[in-house]
Assembly symmetry: D2
């Protein structure tokens, strides 16, 4: 498969390069960056010296790129992918968008949260979270890769919601991310000394991953579910841990919770159920496509807490996109993704 | 005032030394460490070279220490303070215990959560959280200094609970601490490479700060309140951020929330209300006795989120103990504590 | 003393505010920032909320500022101070420049290394390193505060050079700094994820602190000394450690080295000699004006290694400027600077 | 090849597992840990869950292990490997010792620096640094894998020494390591809060990697070379950067230096020459077997500075051991080691 990456100079694009390097079926043909076009990717990322010396190209040649590619990964801020994809109808390629443009079944949700008009509402698309939407991913033209926080949040809560074990209006999601989730663009808020030895929140009650989570959980539940999602920034580079809080429905006990997770994810290679009482750590999944999940029951309050840890750049971005690509092309879902976490 | 510190070789004891150095009324007379007795504190903490060269003594001479002291800080694991205090009845000194022994009005709560018999249940004691218990702190013999997580959690939630703005059974507390909260004893779980670039939780549904929070909030509310408290460890040294979640009662709007915090804390020097929509960061209070508080209203879910940030070793331990001491001795509460956060 | 700070929105300016808060003789009257003029310093630095709410002003009013000030700290990039100071001749104030403009006795050195014309070569100025130039600091109009790397490097090597114990052409200085040394301006090179879990060098054979070190060491030695200076960036916020390498002259033994340091610095409050075989750590001086020094003798190679640790923002910038101010105004040199390191 | 790891519970052993997972010819048959024997490796390292569930065994069965293995990696503190290897003479296996026992041609050097008697001085062994000793590695029974600091130091300096470009008595090596180099055993000195935001040195003039470096450089030079080696600890997990200082011989210019590195390493896959004026960073090699090298010429002092960066657990330990194994077994040297650095 000939693979091109639109927006290769950011962290997600660069992570695609890292992971695709070991994919036996993928060959990188084009990588683009409007800002760095004309230079080598290794000039932008010296760690890629001798590994990738490909030139960064401009999207101006998007038709040429599309004509030579079977797979197009788009790793750009929202709003760009729908413009690119609209231009490429008719090309026999599959598009995997790491941004938000194609994540919503109802584009009015997108328009409300992103304050933008959706210009490609009829696209043949699917929400790119393989554990829930594998079948549709096989055939959809565009896969709107699930977001980082959302992947962890949905995977943590979907089994409980689907089985109707928790009160649907009782969900709180507390999320913590490493700073790579903010991208590579330098800002004062992500300047090293500002964040070192500091912990804070941001985006409370307004973060755009909220409607993605609600969309998926509502589908699982069979009715609308509203959640509160509160992201935080930890002084580290990689990883997301979500701590999900909910009240158990009357009559639901710990055994019911214990059984619902294996039932939901028994065969899922990338989900590691660590069981009741365990504590996933972001370091346990670092550099890999795993999502580690564990849960705790609070008998005093008849509540449940679910932890899920992922690497925001892998299962939260590039790894999941490759997993989606493998599914879409009928390959073994694990191809190129049989990674061991880098520890310590 | 002659001040002695029982247990000066841990982080809380050492932080007392740092802060008392600038206290105009306090003179350090004895510092103890059973493990390091006979050596200088500067051998254990080279950063104190030339500043404190006091010898570490053994508690074996506790009566001699007590006879020469007006103030006794006890910075030992729970279980020790009640043994020490019981021996010292009759000495004209005030005891400020940084551990848990004297934090509970109902010692059966202590016994349940700490799995230990309380041997000094009749002591004249008060819960050492000045913003709520200032009057009793003036006169009590023993001040059971509030815990680190609990200080932040109670200060964040007390105004809402007291004013009956939130559903009392809807509270979740998500807490994050730097690693200094685990003390100075080396363990594999706090070995540098294990925690670096990692984020995880611990102590879910079982952490011993839970009943402290419930005790204070129940008092404020006028009836029993049960909460869920979930601590996490961030890869940093100092600081606690609590993110408190609750459902607003019907009819309560954002203005009511906005007014309840200034009403509760208007004159409190150490509480900095950052207002609705702000984000306290642990770095903004680092090294100081401040507790920064901000809140957010989620109109979609009719919920409230309250953030509170403290330095776990200052407002969460040594600083609060000194604040309590100042109150107990009729001094200006801010004496020695007019600190500027160290930034960046 | 009425104190104004030109350039208060950077880390050095903000650190002056932190330290001056406890100075009993200093009163802040004006603080400036061209970029943030019109806003409160606490808007730029939320950690200063309730502590400093002073407005940031523009330098356009420099004559008004000068007329109302006894002390002017200038914390701007090089090139600005010489323009400001030239305008203020005749005002009865003392100027403490934290930049490089007034550090060189021979302005041609400045012009060579900074690629700029010096426009105020006749100023009554002194190199602001109190341990070596205390007497001149008492009277000079302008104190050119020594740089951060240079302070540590010169203090480490001056005793050996002055006593002619080392080969003058054998000196290498390996320096490591935390990222706050790069200032507050966001750049990709200081973006959090770029530096986290990474260590690298920069500025080899070309760093502008080199001629400062050579100027001071040559003066101590009595003839020209040339050194190699190699700075590195460690993934931390504060602190500088210099590791200085030199060959001992024939006939010089460890005892001679052991005695030269106390002889040089016996009464210096801010220099803590940790002795032969010790290891200063940046954390042992964090937040303070101390410079910790230790040395090692290598009998196999007849060489000496000297370590010196400082806080780059205190002894390397704001603290040293206040120390210079205290000297210039005949105050106790330690006034406002009797700080205890923040640990851990 | 059937591979066993003696001492799999430390960081080097665990890193062998990470790397061997993708080695097409290696199969893990036994892993040992005296302390954790009887448990699964995933209990000790939860990040290995579902990837390695192998039981940790005891060395008591070393003969059984040896009989079933083609390759034995020993990742234990020095002193153990020579006891194990002595027991296994006659088994048709190759031993790759990650400790120091087999690193010295002259065992008296080992005995002097390690204060221990060498009990296996006649072993058929080679110093396991492939870029210098590849031929002997093909046939030696025991490969004494080069140390972490030493690998970076020797690779940085060998070309200059071999070509007689630098004064042989002018070498200083300044080395900086992440904390994983200290192993996994918890100590107060490596407790998270102690090291966070701190930088310090250790082991000056006495570190045991010194004689390893001298042995290799002396061989390259053709006469005895003595160096000073000073290690430091940076607050990060992985990576080593060495900054090597030396005086150029008269008549040697920058061009000579520029040409000697490509001449020495032109075909070496794992050495990436970044050229004159570049700055290797530990993050550019993180997780991989690369050694990045760059150099700077100081015309003012006629000196040279060479930087080399490696991952201490890969090229400094497990990766190099696998590289040695590939050579010893006639495989492609890169097998299992075609890794992309994990960034950021």
């Amino acid at each position: 498969m000939k693979v091109s990456i639109i927006g290769a100079s950011g962290y997600a694009g660069e992570e695609l390069l890292r992971l695709l390097h070991r994919h036996p079926k993928a060959e990188i043909v084009h990588i683009t960056s409007e800002h760095y076009a004309g230079t080598s990717i290794s000039a932008r990322y010296p760690h890629l010296t001798h590994i990738y010396e490909n030139p960064l190209e401009s999207m101006e040649k998007i038709h040429l790129i599309a004509a030579g590619s079977d797979v197009l990964f788009i790793a750009l801020p929202h709003g760009h992918a729908m413009q690119i994809a609209a231009q490429l109808e008719g090309y026999p390629l599959r598009i995997f968008d790491l941004g938000a443009d194609y994540r919503f079944a109802d584009v009015s949700v997108y328009e409300t949260w992103y304050h933008a008009v959706h210009t490609d509402p009829q696209a043949d698309r699917v929400y790119g979270l393989p554990e829930l939407y594998r079948e549709r991913i096989r055939t959809a033209h565009i896969i709107g890769n699930a977001g980082c926080y959302t992947t962890a949040s949905i995977l943590a809560l979907a089994p409980l919601v689907r089985a109707h074990l928790i009160q649907p209006d009782s969900i709180w999601i507390n999320a913590v991310s490493g700073v790579s989730g903010a991208g590579r663009t330098a800002k004062e808020s992500t300047h090293f000394p500002e964040l070192y030895d500091s912990f804070t929140a941001y985006g409370a009650v307004s973060h755009r991953h909220t409607p993605e989570i609600e969309q998926a959980l509502s589908e699982q539940y069979g009715a609308t579910i509203t959640v509160s999602f509160t992201p935080h920034l930890a002084p580290m580079s990689r990883g997301i841990l979500v701590t999900c809080y909910a009240a158990l429905l009357d009559g639901v006990d710990g055994d019911a919770v214990d059984s619902v997770f294996p039932h939901a994810y028994g065969d899922e290679y990338f989900i590691r159920l660590r069981g009741r009482g365990a504590y996933p750590a972001t370091k346990y999944v670092r550099g890999t496509n795993y999502c580690d999940i564990a849960w705790h029951i609070d008998p005093r309050t008849h509540r449940v807490i679910v932890f899920a840890a992922i690497d925001n750049l892998v299962k939260g971005a590039a790894g999941q996109a490759i997993q989606n690509m493998n599914i879409a092309f009928g390959l073994d879902e694990r191809m190129g993704l049989d990674l061991v976490p880098m520890y310590p």
